[in-house]
């Protein structure tokens, strides 16, 4: 009796989205063991580097998790990475702002962009897809406009067209470094902080519960006194804020602000959220799942990379594995 109860619980756990996402990750890890590229997969640096590479996408996925649970979608996150990377580089390198002021300005700009998308959705009842598509195009244009279409780096063009060279601000190197005896990239720590903040919001704040409620059934939530518009505004605002954080990390890792940075990052970030098991229909999911999704995609890319798989094969394999993982997730039960 006791034993069958345990088995029952085990069966239920296996069907949960978390277990499914974990199994997908384990499957990918097994692939890594099989195709270990002469032992490269067993090196600690491989895992460390994988985690660094996935950090920017993971930060975006954190914000997207909130928006998707709220029943929306945000396509503008990739463009906001480019915009904020450029803005941050302009302010610190060209305008000579102190790092703290530049960071604050970028976070503000990102949040403002997110709130604008949210406003289009909440106030004008635009479909999230359309509203954020518009923001995606607009933000990319703004990034190109303020940078003049050029990468913003420590090579500063003078009025006569010649270039002078300035020191790269310390904040770039600080964000690009590794800490804890060289074991974790700073951007990965930023990612973990974003994860923790999102987890706290979703699990511990009243507003987090409202996010689930409007995603689950907007009308029922509204009639239960949930401030639907304010909740949407905050969700998109948070997503914009995290996009700005990702933009700073991107700039730091490239040591420059590239107006083309982050192109199509939104797709990878959405794939991470969905592979984790957060439903695109809204109302269900969580940021723990997003971490598993990020690790799965990160390891997949890493394994393809260390084995030097050709680009065409990579695209086909990635597409196939995303589909398989999502089908696997679809069988999951709450």
């Amino acid at each position: 009796m006791k034993r069958s109860e345990l088995m029952q619980q085990g069966r239920q756990w296996i069907r949960s989205p978390f277990a499914r996402a974990l199994l997908a990750l384990i499957c990918i890890a097994i692939l890594g063991v099989i195709f270990n590229a002469d032992g490269a997969f067993y090196k600690w640096s491989t895992h460390r580097d994988m985690f660094r590479q996935i950090s920017v996408f993971g930060i975006l996925a954190c914000g997207l998790t909130v928006v998707i649970i709220a029943g929306g979608i945000d396509l503008s996150v990739g463009s906001l990475v480019g915009l904020n990377a450029v803005l941050f580089s302009m302010l610190t390198i060209h305008c000579g702002w102190p790092a703290a002021a530049a960071i604050a300005a970028c976070l503000l700009a990102g949040t403002a962009a997110g709130v604008s998308s949210g406003g289009l959705v909440a106030k004008f009842r635009l479909q999230p897809f359309i509203a954020t598509l518009a923001m995606m195009v607009f933000a990319r244009g703004l990034a190109k406009w303020i940078s003049g279409g050029q990468k913003v780096s420590s090579a500063v063009q003078q009025a006569d067209g010649a270039y002078s060279y300035v020191e790269t601000p310390a904040i770039f190197n600080a964000l690009n470094a590794r800490i804890w005896h060289d074991n974790v990239a700073v951007v990965s720590v930023v990612f973990l902080v974003c994860l923790a903040v999102t987890a706290l919001i979703l699990a511990r704040l009243r507003w987090g519960r409202y996010v689930y409620a409007i995603g689950g059934n907007e009308e029922a939530a509204r009639l239960s006194g949930v401030p639907v518009k304010a909740t949407q505004l905050l969700a998109y605002g948070l997503c914009g804020l995290f996009s700005a954080v990702a933009g700073l990390c991107q700039a730091a890792q490239e040591l420059q602000g590239d107006p083309e940075a982050g192109v199509s990052y939104e797709l990878t970030a959405i794939a991470i959220v969905v592979m984790g098991g957060t439903s695109l229909a809204g109302g269900r999911g969580g940021v723990g799942l997003t971490l598993l999704g990020a690790l799965t995609i990160g390891y997949l890319e890493k394994i393809l990379s260390i084995n030097a798989v050709g680009e065409a094969a990579r695209l086909m394999l990635t597409g196939t594995i995303i589909v398989v993982a999502v089908i696997f997730q679809k069988g999951a039960k709450r």
Binding site: Q12, R204, R209, S224
Partner: protein, 501 residues
């Protein structure tokens, strides 16, 4: 069907159930919600394909691989939930999934002719090109029925078809069912309405807790006996007695000159210049046929149409402008809507999350959730309203209709309201749970709450209301006291006859 069994996730929901159906009979399938009626018909209709036991059809054993296979043999189901595509035309809905084609081109003309003939037989006057969603719920239900009758139905299964129909629409349906019977069609009918059951039944099969209790000819099974089969105990009277009203009780809710713009935009007003009062401890019944505006009145009072309402409104003597549901909740109002699935519950979420949603401001001071408080609150209401659930973490969708409704009621009680606005609180709820809800309403009024109640079931309205307001076309056409109200008087006023109060 013999020895039918079915399990979900290890839980046995049907166990050794049998059902024999003869041509030309109306067979009532009765039982409380959760008794296994829906599961049984889903097996018969080929929706659930994994089960134990056997089905034979015209003496031959059959096993359906999918709903299409059952439909091909003439077994058709009208489910409780509407399955129309609201954005598609009536015509396209009727033929959805079995379009008439020649060389994969739609034969629209043939379809139109067949559909027109069918609607005429049913006595329905509908525009085939209009979208299904633009018709009121009652007519949508009729479209659903028409869809099942398209082609030749041999066995027609109706799962609570009248829950969204007006009296006149239901009469039309019954007449049509009689005609089908004449032609030798077998009908399985699921209903919770006692009057309907005894009016229609040739034979009755009762299920309880997934088991077959018995099958009997209707004239050999008295009502009291059937109810005992269903609930396993004898109910003392159908409705609990209402205690007498305290004279001179103060008004909790006072509304003067209240108008609500028609949310569908078809007419100018859904509610026009209406005044009413709900006193402490009083149940005021709101009667009216479809389109009378009573649901819109409740939604308007609750702030669901900000900017769409006019008039004065006072809760416990304090002015309230209906700006948002949140404001209404803060003022002490609570609204149980008439559609639990669409507007009452978040089906994916747990009982606890649903139960605490409206009261979350109180339960999470300074914006921080307090899981322990939430758990305590949920446990408290699970016990007080006798909600049958394994734990408050269970998804609310897994509960039976009656228990779901009790979760909705708990959600609103948790906001500590002064006035309850109840729109069809017993819709889709089995008899046992209905009874419990009636008693709860008595308890609440005894505690000093006021209730404004909409119900389309006449006995319920007459038995529960201290006062009845009858609405027609957005106005009150009659106000009747408990003693002066008669079904005929209410129906007259509901159909637009101004009655002397």
């Amino acid at each position: 069907m013999r020895g039918i069994g079915k399990s979900f996730a290890g839980v046995r929901v049907l166990d050794d159930v049998q059902l024999t159906l003869y041509a030309g009979e109306t067979h009532i399938l009765a039982g409380e919600n959760g008794a296994g009626k829906s599961t049984l018909i889903k097996i018969l209709a080929g929706i659930y394909t994994e089960f134990t036991g056997e089905i034979s059809f015209n003496g031959r054993p059959v096993r359906f691989k999918n709903p299409q296979a059952a439909s091909a043999l003439g077994i058709r189901v009208i489910h409780q939930e509407l399955s129309l595509v609201r954005e598609m035309s009536v015509l396209d809905n009727l033929f959805l999934g079995r379009e008439l084609c020649r060389y994969s081109m739609l034969r629209r003309k043939t379809q139109r002719e067949q559909a027109a003939a069918l609607l005429q037989r049913l006595g329905l006057d509908l525009d085939l090109q209009r979208t299904a969603g633009s018709y009121p719920l009652g007519l949508q239900q009729m479209i659903e029925i028409a869809k099942a009758l398209l082609g030749d139905a041999v066995v027609l299964i109706l799962d609570e078809p009248t829950s969204a129909l007006t009296g006149i629409e239901a009469e039309k349906l019954f007449a049509f069912m009689a005609a089908l019977k004449e032609r030798g069609c077998a009908l399985i009918y699921i209903s919770h309405k006692m009057e309907e059951i005894y009016r229609l039944a040739d034979r009755i099969t009762v299920l309880r807790d997934g088991r077959w209790i018995g099958s009997e000819r209707a004239d050999a099974l008295p009502r009291a006996e059937m109810i005992r089969w269903m609930v396993g105990r004898e109910l003392t009277g159908h409705f609990p007695a209402r205690p007498a009203l305290v004279p001179g009780a103060p008004a909790l809710l006072r509304v003067t000159g209240f108008s609500v713009a028609d949310p569908a935009g078809k007419r100018d007003f859904a509610v026009r210049d209406l005044s009413l009062e709900v006193r402490r401890g009083e149940i005021v019944g709101l009667a009216g046929l479809q389109g009378a505006g009573n649901s819109e009145l409740l939604l308007g009072l609750f702030g669901a149409y900000p900017g769409g309402v006019r008039g004065l409104m006072e809760v416990e003597g304090k002015r309230l402008t209906p700006g948002s549901p949140a404001m209404a909740i803060a003022a002490g109002l609570a609204l149980v809507t008439n559609d639990r699935k669409q507007t009452g519950l978040i089906a994916d979420h747990s009982i606890r999350w649903n139960l605490t949603l409206a009261a979350l401001r109180r339960l999470s001071p300074a914006g921080w959730l307090r899981p322990r408080r939430e758990r305590a609150c949920a446990a408290d209401y699970l016990e007080r309203l006798a909600i049958r659930a394994a734990s408050s973490d269970q998804p609310v969708a897994t509960l039976s209709g009656g228990n779901q409704q009790k979760v909705v009621l708990s959600k609103w009680l948790a906001t500590q309201p002064r006035v309850l606005l109840l729109d069809e609180p017993t819709r889709g709820v089995d008899i046992g749970a209905k009874h419990e809800i009636y008693e709860l309403m008595n308890q609440w009024t005894a505690q000093g709450l006021g209730i404004l109640l909409i119900t389309s079931e006449m006995p319920e309205l007459l038995a529960l209301s201290d006062r009845i307001l009858v609405m027609h076309g957005g106005r009150v056409t009659a106000e009747l006291s408990r003693r002066t109200a008669t079904p005929e008087g209410i129906m007259r006023a509901a159909m637009g006859e101004e009655a002397a109060a």
